[in-house]
């Protein structure tokens, strides 16, 4: 009983960490797209935001 409770707890903790890692990656991809992606169209669209939030730009 105890062992299975501990096991399911550690499974839940592991699942939560995987979820955090995924959410972190999704967020990172978004920030990369608006802040760093090199494509001219993306640069032009996000230009003022890149400057305003002091991402290295140009």
């Amino acid at each position: 009983m105890t062992t299975s409770t501990i096991a399911s707890r550690s499974n839940a903790r592991q699942g939560a960490l995987v979820a955090c890692a995924l959410a972190f990656l999704i967020g990172g991809a978004l920030v990369f797209t608006t802040g760093f992606a090199g494509a001219d169209v993306l640069h032009n669209a996000a230009h003022d935001t890149r400057h305003a939030l002091s991402f290295p730009c140009h």
Binding site: A23, G27, A46, T49, S54
Partner: protein, 268 residues
């Protein structure tokens, strides 16, 4: 769990991003547009408007004189300096789509700001849940402040928030230093704030200081024609905007997460 983090990040980013987009429109965007009138004047004097050119000529001797101090530590980076940059990076493909000035530019900029805020909100929420297993408004504000220090304040010490037309070292060198500084400062703050061991705290402090000992890549000459007053105002306003963004993201993420707690606490 993933859905909950995504929902909280999305909502917090949307709320904070919308507020920042409004602030941005009346602060940084105006300064950027004012600076664009001077952009290129330093790089291509022949093509610049006569008025802007005169202005650049006035400022140049002073800037060159004070610039030498800076140029010395950056000597190793001379290859990555402004000449290269002006030749390759700066002139973007003129055929690429660009928002028209006015409403279109405001809307596109607002969208980019909201998307960036959502991205940051997702990352912040993910880190808070991974570290603490939960989020409260109070703890979130501490995390948000740390994120501001790591993502905006620490990099700004080496690379001041910069207007279009400012002289700068090669983009790749600055992006690399920026990433390194953000990662080192974030890790350093975590060790300093969350680990009891004196060794961990010392390592954290070293991580925070290291990027500034290494030094940010700087151009070996200063050639911006943008008046220093506009540039200085932009740097401080930009940091204020970033601080507002992080605190709003943190407060909203805490609020939305706790709302979720309250709902879960009710008998099903």
């Amino acid at each position: 769990m993933l859905n909950r983090i995504l929902a909280v990040g999305l909502l917090a980013g949307l709320v904070a991003g919308s507020a920042v987009a409004v602030l941005q429109e009346v602060t940084t965007s105006r300064l950027i547009i004012a600076a664009e009138a001077f952009e290129g004047a330093g790089e291509a004097p022949a093509a610049a408007a006569p008025a802007a050119h005169d202005h650049a000529g006035h400022d140049h001797p002073d800037m060159a004189a004070s610039g030498h101090d800076h140029a010395a530590p950056a000597a190793a980076l001379a290859d990555a300096g402004t000449d290269d940059h002006a030749a390759s990076g700066h002139q973007h493909d003129s055929d690429a789509w660009m928002p028209a000035d006015g409403l279109e530019r405001t809307l596109v900029t607002s969208l980019a700001t909201i998307a960036t805020s959502i991205g940051f909100a997702l990352m912040l929420t993910a880190v808070m849940v991974a570290a603490d297993g939960k989020v409260t408004t109070r703890s979130a504000l501490g995390w948000g402040l740390s994120a501001f220090i790591a993502v905006n304040l620490a990099p700004a010490i080496g690379l001041a928030p910069e207007l279009p037309g400012a002289s700068a070292a090669a983009l790749e060198a600055r992006q690399l230093w920026w990433f390194g500084t953000v990662a080192a400062t974030a890790a350093g703050l975590f060790l300093l704030g969350r680990r009891p061991e004196i060794v961990a705290k010392s390592a954290g402090l070293a991580l925070i200081v290291a990027p500034h000992v290494i030094g940010a890549p700087h151009p070996n000459e200063f050639e911006s024609a943008v008046p220093a007053e506009i540039a200085a105002q932009f740097a401080s306003v930009s940091l204020g905007l970033a601080a507002a963004m992080w605190l709003l993201i943190a407060a909203a993420a805490g609020w939305f997460w706790q709302r979720g707690d309250a709902r879960e606490g009710l008998p099903a």
